[in-house]
């Protein structure tokens, strides 16, 4: 069983500046921040390393950090410019029973993260959901399309903090 700090040390030795930082003073668990374009190599290492063996991805969630500046748009609604979108990965190891939380952050205007679908097949639908809800593009994903919203939904990404419902969808009035 390794703690998050030990795992952070191992990763830092292996990958250098792809590993950005670790936040330790949170109430429940420390979070390791990683460069979004190196996440696949890091995850492959985490899965295959003999001492770590993180063979199960528990959950992959997109988060809208809402840390940009809020400006008022033409029709009086608030949109957010700047800031980041993040993806959180929670990993677990069945043989060793330890857990770790990873985080990547990408700029809001052009969110791109490398896909970890080739490491754990579980990430396939989770990444599609993150794309559907936040608009995060996962590079090298085999089939990135919307999963919960209809396939031709043009009006944006629903879970962003500044999302507005469209007026009409295919001729039907949206706000009830």
């Amino acid at each position: 069983m390794k703690s998050a700090e030990e795992i952070f040390e191992i990763l830092k030795n292996e990958f250098g500046e792809a590993i950005i930082s670790i936040e330790k003073d949170l109430p429940t668990e420390p979070i390791i921040s990683i460069n979004p374009f190196e996440i696949k190599k890091v995850c492959m290492f985490l899965r295959d390393n003999e001492e770590l063996k993180f063979d199960s991805l528990m959950v992959l969630s997109g988060v809208d950090d809402a840390n940009g500046e809020k400006i008022k748009d033409e029709d009086g609604t608030e949109i957010i410019k700047g800031g980041t979108l993040s993806v959180y990965y929670h990993l677990y190891s069945i043989p060793f029973k330890h857990k770790v939380t990873l985080k990547v952050s990408t700029p809001r205007e052009n969110p791109q993260v490398e896909s970890v679908e080739s490491v754990w097949k579980c990430a396939d639908w989770h990444e599609r959901e993150a794309y559907d809800m936040f608009g995060i593009i996962f590079l090298n994903h085999p089939d990135l399309r919307r999963i919960l919203m209809p396939y031709d939904w043009e009006a944006g990404y629903p879970l962003r903090k500044d999302y507005k419902n469209p007026e009409f969808y295919q001729g039907m009035k949206v706000p009830y």
């Binding site: 949170l26 109430p27 429940t28 668990e29 979070i31 063979d55 199960s56 991805l57 528990m58 959950v59 969630s61 988060v63 809208d64 959180y88 929670h90 069945i94 029973k97 939380t101 754990w120 097949k121 579980c122 396939d124 639908w125 989770h126 809800m133 919307r146 999963i147 919960l148 919203m149 209809p150 629903p158 879970l159």
Partner: protein, 371 residues
């Protein structure tokens, strides 16, 4: 010159008697053999995660009920435990015991639906009604406690909404006594029936490393041979005080990890849940169930990921709090969502009739898949 053949695309559409909800399966068939299955979901998407950001923490609880509507107690349980971990509060013993008893009763009810509808899909009409007859007894126990039969809103942050009825303990003991022979009857009628075994053994075999890579959990993973149950591996609440086994698929009727194994794991889990309830029902201490409910719920800034063992697998809640009374982000890791991914892998090379058998053995609830 080779004969030009085309595969036929058959749509097991959103409305279908046996896709357990609104699920659209696009089957690519060559005669009766399946080459590919593509599930299309999203027909029941009700934007739970967006709603959760607009409400306070206690107001989210009825919404969690409606995700997996066949195991509502456990949805409440997971959410409440996650928020309590973030707040760092400790609930009274009585609350813990009652939560465990309700959770295990809910597990039995959910497995009864899974087994009954699985028999119905295979063509055996009668076990379905026997299972529902017993489920009625459980639902009337729930109705006696909190007034609702399906969507309870029973477990609150720091306690429960109502205390148990004075007759609850006696009626639960009667239920336990009457339920044990029913499991034997069910085994005799369905599990060891030769035709049922022919339809489910060696169908949809899931090897263990594929299962772990796809992230499946619950009876699907245990059916493939790994004894991994969150109640024993990462005990939450007071599960570490009870003595129960983890049933694992052993390939009794076919290969390890086929549909029959997954089905039989569920039957055995009902038996183990009965054991837990038997042990817990005698030890309920006295106390006030609403003593530890805080007046204002404002967790500190931070994140928490907490997981519990739903009847269908690992249900996880990832909650990000920014110090205000509303959660900043609630992400639900639904077990059926993850388990459904493995359907494409399992169906290759089988016949159309087997798709129904495999889908029933994975046991999905569309409310959870789409949230």
């Amino acid at each position: 010159m080779a004969l030009k053949t085309e595969t036929m695309i058959l749509n097991m559409g959103p409305q279908h008697p046996s896709t357990h909800g609104v699920l659209r399966l696009e089957l690519e068939l060559e005669g009766e053999l399946i080459k590919n299955v593509k599930p299309h979901i999203g027909y029941l998407h009700r934007c739970f995660e967006k709603h959760a950001e607009a409400m306070t923490y206690p107001q989210v609880i009825p919404y969690t009920d409606r995700m997996d509507y066949l195991a509502s107690m456990y949805n409440n349980f997971g959410y409440v435990l996650a928020v309590e971990k973030l707040l760092g509060i400790q609930v009274p013993e009585r609350v813990e015991y009652i939560r465990v008893i309700m959770g295990e009763l809910q597990r039995i009810a959910s497995h009864l639906v899974a087994i009954g509808t699985y028999g119905l899909d295979i063509g055996a009409f009668t076990p379905f009604l026997y299972c529902f007859r017993d489920r009625e007894k459980i639902l009337s126990l729930f109705e006696m406690t909190c007034g609702a039969r399906l969507l309870y809103n029973y477990m609150w942050i720091g306690g429960l909404s109502h205390d148990i009825h004075p007759d609850f303990v006696r009626l639960t003991k009667e239920f336990i006594k009457s339920f044990r022979p029913t499991i034997d009857e069910l085994n005799y009628l369905l599990s060891y029936n030769k035709i049922f075994i022919e339809r489910t053994a060696n169908i949809g075999v899931l090897p263990l490393d594929t299962a772990i890579n796809y992230g499946v959990t619950g009876p699907v993973l245990r059916g493939s041979g790994l004894a991994f149950d969150l109640r024993k591996n990462e005990p939450y609440s007071i599960y570490d005080r009870f003595d129960f086994d983890i049933p694992v698929g052993k390939g009794l009727m076919g290969t390890v990890g086929d549909c029959w194994d997954r089905y039989y794991v569920r039957v055995q889990e009902m038996e183990q849940s009965l054991r837990i309830i038997e042990q817990a029902i005698d030890q309920i201490p006295e106390g006030d169930v609403q003593a530890a409910i805080p007046k204002r719920i404002k967790p500190p800034k931070g994140t928490v990921y907490f997981r519990v063992e739903n009847p269908r697998g690992e249900l996880g809640y990832f909650i990000i709090s920014d110090g205000s009374p509303n959660p900043f982000r609630v992400k639900v890791r639904a077990p059926s969502f993850v388990n459904l991914e493995v359907l494409g892998e399992l169906c290759k090379g089988h016949l159309v009739a087997d798709v129904v058998a495999i889908l029933g053995s994975i046991d999905i609830v569309l409310g959870e898949v789409d949230r």
